[in-house]
């Protein structure tokens, strides 16, 4: 027997999942996080999990880790003492960014200061031009004095970013070599190793970010490794990346900016896995927690990637999934604005003091308070009743702060709060889909997080989505996704050229180079086998500023076919094509994916209760009426069982609401499938 284990480190809890591919068994475990040293909770959690599952540490095949170390290092400015060396005349690129400001109207909001202050951004005479030719060689004397300055300053990490290094990285590489030789203890990070895309600010920013985090990440992963060894766990550790694939711990440290979405990526992979199980190629994942709502899209079995990513206002060029986040969650505060309209969020009561019903000093009405007042949450529905909710307080704050102004009943006010927050979440999903030319009606919605399944079908109906699938354990969906993930590497190269000036053989050669690089990235792991390669070309009409990715079929490249596929896709997204115009290649993208070992989850074989446990009943306020509603315990449901709405399904970390007229079924994977929803 051999099992795989996933560990998802969150702010409050560290979630763990053990998967036994032979039996399809999943075991869940949760321990409090230890933010000062996240490796402690990780190792304690793993020990607890194997105990609970009754397996020995020797039976662990490997571990997969979703970590927030890179993200937190940046958000908390706890990185290494970092310097940056750039082309003479350009040290302020990191300061000016793209010269715009973060908010059009709020004059108080400032840009995020660069991770490296101006005094530690050094200039070096050297110059490469846009065609890769050398206009000026590196000034070696100056480089020598920079080495001395870095040593003097006690620099722990240095980024090197020169203009046009995405075309020819020669200067960066030779400067990097000098630095590594002279400063063997210092982390050296080249912008061309981080990204081969055009645009100096974004590439330099990525480079500096990686340099800043790399020593911290390296230390952390070493600590984890030592602690696992001490616990006699010798299985290899993989780390989740922002692209939805995992990589070796070593690669994760060297390219730590690739792990920025390591935490939330798991949830999206869970959605992808659910889509695969149910043969649903198009999935929208919606993670609703206490303060934020994260949505992502899987289209034609591929996770949608972000074009321009940033973290904390700093640009980041790394292959990463497109997770669109808005400030909407159970803690979002409802208020009446100066025009008399009901608004919800973006202010949140957070975890402390939390919603008014937590009884921890919160005095503002929140979404959770509204759900409680409407009977959709029960007073003992959080953490299996460990936290008791105070519905009297929830009623009172909604009455005083909302119902009184709107001159309506408390229930009407509470239902209004839910409708308004649902509208914000719907708008977020529309931004991700409709604005990019995707029709949400072709998707399945997978809601998770503590609050997602409570709002899931309402969002789906508003968007015209017909089917909703609630995962087995919505509160730990990210960890569940980790356990089913594969090794993956993405390589992207900017190459701007008119398609009709590009020979098929040149095109092939570039793809081949990228493929070799991507496969090389995977070879650092202990997994064997042949990776699955997928290739894409970013195209646009010459003169446009945004490219559309077009999948390349296997086999020899057919540029004419590629061009006509682009016209079609442009027409699909924007309603017109310009077939008389020349088409331009902008970039090539190759991804390599390798299954670590049998990671598919088969249908569960487990003991099921002979007879379904009968539901209890409670009144729930739905569309203006109190309706006597069946309340089910999720652990007592068995596959094949049908539940007609109205119904509530409660479990340890989440509550699912089935509206009147909706029909839910429990499938072979113990997921709740609510299919055939109709528009309002």
């Amino acid at each position: 027997m051999s099992v795989r284990i996933a560990i998802d480190t969150g702010g409050t809890f560290t979630d763990l999942v053990l998967s036994d591919p032979d039996t399809g068994r999943l075991v869940f475990h949760k321990v409090p996080s230890t933010p000062a040293d996240p490796s402690r909770a990780l190792v304690e959690g793993v020990k607890g999990l194997v105990d609970r599952a009754g397996v020995g540490t020797a039976e662990i095949l490997f571990l997969i880790h979703g970590t927030t170390v890179a993200t937190n290092t940046i958000l908390q400015r706890k990185g290494a003492h970092t310097a940056f060396i750039t082309t003479e005349g350009f040290r302020d690129v990191l300061h000016i960014q793209r010269q715009d400001r973060p908010h059009l109207y709020n004059m108080r909001i400032r840009r995020t200061p660069a991770l490296v202050p101006r005094s530690l951004r050094y200039e070096l005479p050297e110059r490469t031009l846009h065609d890769g030719s050398e206009a000026a060689p590196i000034d070696q004397d100056r480089l020598g004095s920079l080495v001395a300055a870095l040593r003097e300053e006690g620099i722990e990490a240095v980024g090197v970013g020169f203009l046009h290094s995405h075309i020819d990285p020669g200067h960066e590489q030779s400067a990097g070599e000098v630095l590594r030789r002279a400063l063997p203890e210092t982390t050296v990070c080249l912008s061309s190793d981080m990204s081969r895309e055009e645009g100096e600010y974004e590439r330099f920013s990525t480079c500096v970010m990686n340099a800043y985090v790399q020593p911290i990440m390296t230390n952390y992963l070493k600590k984890v490794d030592d602690a696992l060894s001490k616990a006699s766990i010798e299985a290899p550790l993989y780390v989740m990346k922002s692209n939805g694939g995992v990589t070796s711990a070593r690669d994760a440290a060297d390219h730590c900016v690739h792990t920025i979405l390591s935490g939330p990526a798991g949830g999206v992979v869970a959605g992808e896995e659910i889509g695969r199980r149910l043969d649903r190629p198009n999935v929208i994942t919606a993670d609703m927690g206490g303060t934020s709502f994260d949505v992502a899209m899987i289209y034609e079995r591929n996770i949608a990637f972000a074009k321009n990513a940033e973290i904390d206002g700093l640009a980041l060029k790394a292959p990463m999934m497109d997770i669109h986040t808005i400030g909407a969650g159970g803690g979002s505060i409802a208020w009446i604005d100066s025009g008399g309209a009901l608004r919800v969020g973006p202010q949140s009561a957070g975890a402390e003091p939390g919603p008014a019903c937590y009884g921890a000093g919160g005095s503002e009405p929140t979404v959770t308070d509204a759900n409680l007042v409407l009977g959709r949450l029960s007073t003992d529905s959080l953490l299996g009743g460990a936290l008791s909710l105070d519905s009297e307080t929830a009623r009172r704050v909604i009455d005083e702060k909302i119902a009184a102004s709107l001159q309506c009943t408390v229930e009407e006010a509470a239902e209004g709060i839910i409708r308004v927050i649902n509208a914000s979440m719907t708008a977020a999903i529309r931004k991700l889909t409709v604005e990019r030319g995707y029709d949400p009606r072709l998707f399945t919605l997978v809601p998770f997080g503590g609050a997602g399944p409570l709002h899931g079908t309402a969002l789906a109906r508003e968007l015209g989505i017909r089917d909703v699938v609630v995962p087995l354990a919505p509160g730990v969906a990210s960890a569940e996704g980790l356990v089913f993930s594969n090794l993956r590497s993405d390589r992207i190269q900017t190459h701007v050229e008119l398609l009709d000036r590009l020979g098929a053989s040149e095109f092939e050669k570039m793809l081949e180079e990228l493929t070799v690089q991507a496969e090389g990235d995977l070879s650092t792991s202990s997994a064997t086998g042949h990776p699955v390669i997928s290739r894409r070309a970013g195209l646009r009409y010459a003169g446009q500023g945004y490219d559309i990715p077009i999948d390349l079929p296997e086999g020899a490249a057919d540029l004419a076919l590629l061009e006509s596929a682009f016209h079609l896709e442009h027409e699909r997204q924007y309603g017109f094509a310009r077939r008389d115009q020349r088409v331009q290649l902008v970039n090539l993208w190759v991804s390599a994916e390798l299954v670590i070992s049998g990671s598919r989850r088969d249908t569960a074989e487990r003991a099921v209760p002979d007879r379904p446990k009968p539901p209890t009943m409670r009144p729930v306020y739905l569309s203006g009426n109190w309706i006597e509603t069946a309340v089910f315990d999720r652990t007592a449901l068995r596959s094949g069982q049908q539940i007609d709405g109205p119904a509530i399904i409660e479990q340890l970390d989440s509550t699912t609401l089935i509206w009147p007229g909706e029909h839910a079924g429990i499938d072979a994977w113990d997921q709740i499938v609510i299919a055939g929803l109709e528009n309002p």
Binding site: I96, M107, R108, H130, A423, G545, Y574
Partner: protein
């Protein structure tokens, strides 16, 4: 029909969402750098009466006040009742009301549901060229709109979904960058199509009567928000004035003055004190001043104010006919957007300082530093045109420093990356960065200005520069000092440096270097009171030299 505040909020979000989606489609399919990179465009949903219901702006707030005039000028010639599905109307004519200058091209079309025009879709986008005296169609050295470029009065440009090739041929012949202009018109058409689709979907999902009912409710709601915001300002009359250096033709300074009257929940802005219209292209029409007021209300009163007609009901804006903000045809108008309007905002801030000192900032760079470079690209033999506005310093507020090298107030367009510029144009960027010692000193300091050096690689390069604040530098408040002003230099291919006017139309030759310096932002409060650690940090970062630190900031001296 009964109105409930919950449905009101839902409806408002839906309309905003549709306008945003229209604007996103326009940006993603456009060709002009101005639109695709710098997002100088906007899209709006308009009620059939001509009242803006929802507007999305991405890069610039300048279109906010202008859109009503655009729609009005089209509806006067082509009433909604005469519009058919697939018909789209165009105009770029600022007189009597319309877009702010000729490169801003607006398209308006009716949105139908069950054969009834339920709304209008409108968009404005800054096209790369509309012909005239110089590439980019915002020339200096001109005195009439005829010289600035092609004037397109309201005309049907698409009929039944087809581009009118006859009208298009006339446009095509008059613009330098035909390929882009056609592409951008198609992008604006795509924007209108998205509007039509989404509104149809909304109408068929909800009750059409309810949707229409709530259009008026949204206007009333926005009016209440604006009134509540104005109500937070103390009643009184607040005046302020500042000067533009010159009009680019004569040397006479141009006065911008306002008298703001707050009474209860209403606001009147009287620009009677401004200069008469001028010879150079700094003249504007009143809708531009309306944009400035709209912006300032959002910035000072409530950043979240809805962008719709109702919000502007409590505002009364006046400028006499024949004055710089209400110029008479055919006065040249091309650079009001980037110079005059930006200064109107500074002046409004100065006036509001007296009413709400903790909500305004000192003078920002006060202009947009337009750089327009065109000529024949030696590599391709084709005409190229590079246009960008350069950021400057932001004015300090009572408790925070201004940002360095950032776009302020009416513009928020992104820069052109060096790597893209050098690949696309026969230009080499030699330096790009902040200029030390250009901040307005203060307890809170203003932002530093910025410089860029560009080497021209073509044989003959035509330059248009549009900047200001060389003489009248950005002012500080409460004892804060003025920032440095704008300067432009040419370093010719023999190494000779000469300063050239900041408003200029000139030619450069192979290997000449153009150096642009932008103004900083004004300071706030006595610089001697600045926190010592902050002075030291600026000195360490070489943004403030030791001499300036010990002078203005009394650094290293007894306090």
């Amino acid at each position: 029909m009964k109105t409930d505040p919950i449905t009101l909020e839902l409806m408002r979000n839906r309309w905003t969402g549709i306008a945003e989606e229209m604007c996103a489609a326009l940006i993603r399919t456009s060709y002009s750098t101005n639109i695709k990179d710098r997002r100088d465009c906007s899209a709006a949903i308009v009620q059939p009466t001509g009242e803006i219901l929802a507007q999305a702006e991405s890069g610039v707030p300048l279109h906010l006040g202008v859109m009503p005039g655009v729609v009005k000028s089209i509806l006067e010639v082509y009433p909604v009742s005469a519009m058919k599905p697939g018909d789209v109307y165009i105009t770029n004519l600022p007189y009597p009301e319309g877009p702010g200058h000729l490169p801003d091209v607006s398209l308006v079309s009716a949105i139908f549901y069950e054969n009834r025009a339920v709304a209008l879709a409108a968009s404005t986008a800054h096209h790369v060229d509309m012909g005239g005296f110089a590439p980019g169609s915002m020339p200096f050295g001109v005195t009439e709109i005829y010289q600035e470029g092609l004037q397109i009065p309201p005309l049907p440009i698409f009929k039944g979904g087809q581009l009118d090739e006859d009208i298009y041929k006339l446009i095509n012949q008059n613009v330098r960058t035909q390929y882009e202009v056609r592409g951008d018109l198609m992008a604006q058409y795509a924007c209108a199509q998205i509007g039509q689709q989404r509104v149809s979907e909304l109408m068929s999902r909800e009750s059409p009567e309810e949707v229409i009912h709530y259009m008026d409710e949204i206007q009333d709601y926005a009016e209440r928000r604006m009134r509540a915001g104005i109500g937070t300002l103390p009643d009184g009359e607040y005046t302020f004035e500042d000067y533009l250096d010159d009009d680019g033709v004569t040397d006479t300074p141009v006065k911008i003055a306002v008298a703001l009257t707050v009474s209860g929940d209403e606001l009147r802005a009287d620009f009677s004190g401004c200069s008469d219209q001028v010879l150079g292209p700094l003249n504007a029409r009143l809708p531009a001043a309306a944009s400035c007021i709209s912006y300032v209300c959002k910035a000072v009163i409530d950043p979240d104010l809805p962008a719709c007609a109702g919000a502007y009901r409590p505002l009364d804006i006046f400028a006499p006919e024949g004055s710089i903000l209400q110029a008479t045809y055919p006065a040249a108008i091309g650079n009001a957007n980037i110079l005059t309007d930006q200064r109107v905002v500074d002046v409004l801030m100065g006036a509001l300082y007296q009413a709400a000192p903790d909500r305004v900032c000192a003078a920002c760079s006060g202009e947009m530093n337009l750089v327009n470079i065109g000529g024949i690209d030696p590599a391709s033999g084709e005409y190229y045109n590079y246009v960008e506005t350069y950021a400057g310093g932001q004015g300090a507020m009572f408790d925070i420093d201004g940002e360095d090298g950032v776009h302020t107030h009416l513009t928020n367009t992104r820069n052109a990356p060096v790597e893209i510029m050098e690949r696309t144009y026969p230009l080499r960027v030699e330096r790009y960065g902040l200029i030390p010692d250009t901040e307005g000193p203060g307890r809170q300091r203003g932002g530093c200005g910025m410089m860029r050096e560009l080497k021209c690689l073509g044989e003959r390069t035509i330059i248009t520069l549009g900047s200001d604040r060389r003489k009248f530098t950005p002012w500080g408040l409460e004892g804060g000092g003025n920032a440095s002003g704008a300067h432009c230099y040419v370093i010719d291919n023999e190494g000779q440096v000469r300063e050239i006017p900041t408003k200029a139309h000139t030619e450069l030759y192979r290997d000449d270097v153009l150096r642009i310096e932008t103004p900083g932002g004004g300071g706030w409060g006595d610089p001697a009171e600045r926190v010592r650690e902050k002075v030291e940090e600026d000195v360490r970062n070489e943004l403030i030299g030791p001499e300036r630190a010990s002078g203005h900031y009394r650094w290293g001296k007894d306090q």
